[in-house]
Symmetry: D2
Subunit: 161 residues, 4 copies
């Protein structure tokens, strides 16, 4: 199971704690963490996953593996700048969005295009007059977020059988 975690490159202590717990729960659930490989939410989530014995993939925007945070197990070096956001999304079977700014919004949009489930922890709610509400799933805490992500992946697989 590959679970993406998206959020800001810089984050408050409180937000990083949330991300750390999300990362930890992913490893405990047997998942691999996919992310953008940089700091803030990405780094805290990677640290959580690694501390719980899991593996992390960082899909980097720049041209060197050196920009990866220290908790990335496998750096993927794209050189595509923000153009790598869609690869983070496509490579994940479900996405957990933690707060976030416009980069996170772009990734939520790609997940919606590609029908990849998005679980939100205080994240974007896009609204457009005359358009159905996006099927974003709100979670109240990291445990619930990861459980909902795992459930959505399992039910996708079941529906394909």
């Amino acid at each position: 199971m590959r679970i993406g975690v998206i959020g800001n490159n810089t984050a408050s202590l409180q937000t990083r704690r949330l991300a750390y717990e999300v990362g930890k729960e992913i490893a405990k659930g047997g998942g691999i963490l996919i992310c953008g490989g940089l700091g803030g939410v990405m780094e805290a989530a990677c640290q959580g996953t690694r501390d719980a014995g899991g593996m992390t993939v960082g899909i980097l925007p720049g041209s060197s593996s050196k920009e990866a945070n220290p908790y990335v197990s496998i750096p993927i070096v794209t050189g595509f700048s923000h153009g790598r956001n869609i690869i983070v999304v496509r490579s994940s079977e479900a996405i957990i969005a933690i707060e976030g700014s416009y980069g996170t919004l772009s990734e939520i949009a790609f997940a919606l295009i590609l029908d990849i489930p998005v679980i939100g922890l205080n994240t974007w709610l896009p609204h457009r007059e005359g358009h159905e509400s996006p099927p974003l799933i709100a979670a109240k805490d990291p445990e619930e977020a990861v459980r909902l992500a795992i459930d959505s992946i399992s039910s996708q697989k079941k529906s394909l059988e």
Copy 2:
């Protein structure tokens, strides 16, 4: 002046009329139209620009110039699927978003990341608790949308002098 027009690949007659007028106004203002090169809003906008004697660029997702709508002057063939959305945005000095679905939302997000002005005609309003409201500019009709786009480009240039 390069003005991007973003919106759905299929669109109602009413929406295509809006897009056509936007395209026409871009040509009348001396602009080049940048878009994703496909149907719906993109095709109607390209037709408007061409009918008024202007030039259009279609930045295509697939691997053949044949997928361009017939009003694209210059097809750019990326083969990057939705990964081309960021190129549509980066190549524009201002963006006009006409309604739209999640692809349009991804392009609005990239414009916000890259500080490229977005003028909206009944488009997405992303909201997040604790995050400032995105600086999207609402227009009431095609004329105003194009005027606001041109003004935002001119004032950017002035502020750089």
Copy 3:
């Protein structure tokens, strides 16, 4: 007709003269010049095309249209670094390679993958034991290079009718 010109970002006076003539012949043949938008061969070719009244497209690696050479009519801003090389190739109906280094080699390889004709002016000859020779066409001067490019595009179109 969209003709790509590929070659180094820095070039000797002699090489730039070749590229300038290629650009001029493209415009005289009614073609649009596609290139990577930077200096050296790209800049000289763009200047030739513009001096003869033609149009040029520069598909840029970086994140700003400011990196385009002054003879680019339409800058396409990718932010994909060398990842934009394949877009230069895909957007062209034939490619003229003028000398060049490894970036040019990557573009020749993509043209070979995609079955886009490559006309060479003193450019790469890739060889592999046990593999057929790549179908590169050598030209003796700019006039012949552009004529061969135009002929190859015309015969492709005829074979599709």
Copy 4:
């Protein structure tokens, strides 16, 4: 250590045996295998790495993880078609090229641009009049290829200390 293996999507039994041995040696040397994730050389190399207890990353061109060969541990889904070739290269610290066609040639070219060592097993030799010979390293068998790849990575690291 991340070692890339590049080569054709379809391959003879003999070539797949070479690739399998390369994959096995990578795992025995403690490396992670990076590749394009499809069949032929990529699949055989992945199988070799997995059989020896190692991990494999497949950077896929299409839009689904289902196109990965069964020996890919971690699929990275790009949707960028051949545009993903540069990501295979950038994510590797050294590249082993096994025979190959034009896709392989494009990856060798990118490795040369990016100064990533390329070890060749009967692969391309690009030549251009007036250009220095590309610094490709020929290996006589899989064991030597992997040893040269590991040595080149180690000496890079040493020279950075």
